[in-house]
Amino acid sequence: MKKLLQLAPLALAVAAGSASAQSTEDTLARMQQQLDAMQQQVNSAKNDSVRFNGFFSTGVARASNDAGYAGITETTSVNDLSLIALQGTFDVTEKSQAVLQLVGRGADDWEPQIEWAYLSHRPTNNLQLRAGKMRIPFFMYSDSLEVGYSQPWARPPQSVYGPIAITSYVGADATYNFNFDDSSLTVNAFTGFTDEDGTTGEVQLRNIGGVNLTWTDYVWTLRAVAATAEADIDATRLKALVPPTITVNSVLADGERGNFYGIGASYDDGSWQIISEVTRVELDGKFADTDSAYLSIGHRFGSWTPYIAAGWTESKDEDERKGLFINIPSQGVVVPESILNYQRTDYSVGTRWDITPGVAIKADITHVRGLDKGYANLNTQYMLSNDTSSTNVYTIKLDSAF
């Protein structure tokens, strides 16, 4: 039926001539009735209870050396920036929904992973309860972390988004919306656990509890988040640097309490797009406590949105990492704990180009300094054997949503 309606304008061109001749009021009235009847049929046939959406990204990135900032090296392949996701939204009842999002990443040989799988229920207009697997809402862009199309950059600022390896959790949350005349306040509380193979190794967070508040007048958005959890972190990637016969204590956290705090602000008046986030991670033991921040400024010129961004990450508890991680002088493997430090700044310049609604291309150059002050989240093997303090990362990316 819908196809016929779409085809109709074609037929119209042929039929218009003869039809206009007999355009009496009677005919019009009769046709209006027919149209109404057809519309009723269209409405009743339309199945709104299941909807599918998806997003897709691909691109190439290359770095000036193998330091591995954001996982990019001199030989990064197209697959590493490629992903495709399909999301199904199923209306269970008038007030309940099931949402399932599958993401296949080139880097994982396109094996689909479940990123969202939750049931949501809206008992009232302003309250939403969810349970299942969801994004852990540490950052302003956590919810749409991999939806490149909804972000201004080629990748979320690594200064803030990089040190946190955890992206999802299994649990429940409650969201309440206070709507005012020209603004709204959203209060969200979440709890659950997570067990992920992060960038540095196995990370487990138990008894997560957190709150985030978002206020917006639709130009300004202000956000604050605080979360706490018991953490188990095993730096299995570091362990892999030595032969398996040698025992290395790679446990960075064993049930210690970790805290996360973040504040964010954004301004978007349709032309200027200014975004900033400041975050703090605290965890007793060898795992680095970090303070991070970034500021990004973009401006829309028609379909082009160029931006500049600067970011900074610093570890605050260097005195907890004075020893040696691995000490086997006989084999020439001596790895100090200080490699887990962060003292980094990065500068990005790039642009987003909206080719057509639903498709955007981004180009980005990021310069990073201070890599020699700590190798956290970098290619440790390369950093241990090279004297590298900076890297340049060049990225071209295509993001789409459909």
Binding site: L5, M31, L35, N53, N125, D182
Partner: protein, 137 residues
């Protein structure tokens, strides 16, 4: 097929040659008026209620339509690419789905007149007795 083409021929007859102002239309049983901010909130997923409290069902013209561009220029201040980016964020964060799209002013009137709680927009020249104008932005 012939009936369909006749219907569309009819809709063409009432179409204006030049574009007049866009008007916001509602179902006959809905509220008689609405503010521009309320319309904006309905089209930007900030609210899903009409001023009289009933559940709102907004309809959009398809992307690229000049009336759609005029409506969003006046009411939401967003162009098609910005709307697409906005809705992709809403959809993939589970916050909501964009309004259903229709392909013509006739289809818009048919949807709005047959869906309780609905709201839409058409060119002023396309208004007829099947729908009522609730705002001229």
């Amino acid at each position: 097929m012939k009936k369909l083409s006749l219907i569309f021929a009819a809709s063409l007859l009432v179409s204006p040659l030049a574009m007049a102002d866009v008007v916001v239309i509602g179902h006959s049983a809905g509220p008689d008026s609405i503010t521009e901010n309320q319309v904006r909130d309905l089209y930007l997923n900030r609210s899903n209620q009409l001023p009289d409290g009933q559940k709102a069902t907004p309809f959009e013209m398809a992307g690229g339509d000049p009336v759609r561009a005029q409506f969003h220029d006046k009411v939401t201040g967003r162009n098609d690419a910005q709307l697409k980016a906005f809705w992709s964020k809403q959809v993939f964060t589970g916050r909501g789905q964009p309004p259903a799209e229709v392909g013509s002013a006739a289809a818009m009137k048919a949807q709005v007149s047959s869906t309780p709680g609905s709201i839409g927009y058409i060119d002023e020249a396309d208004v007829d007795s099947s729908v009522k104008v609730i705002l001229t932005p």
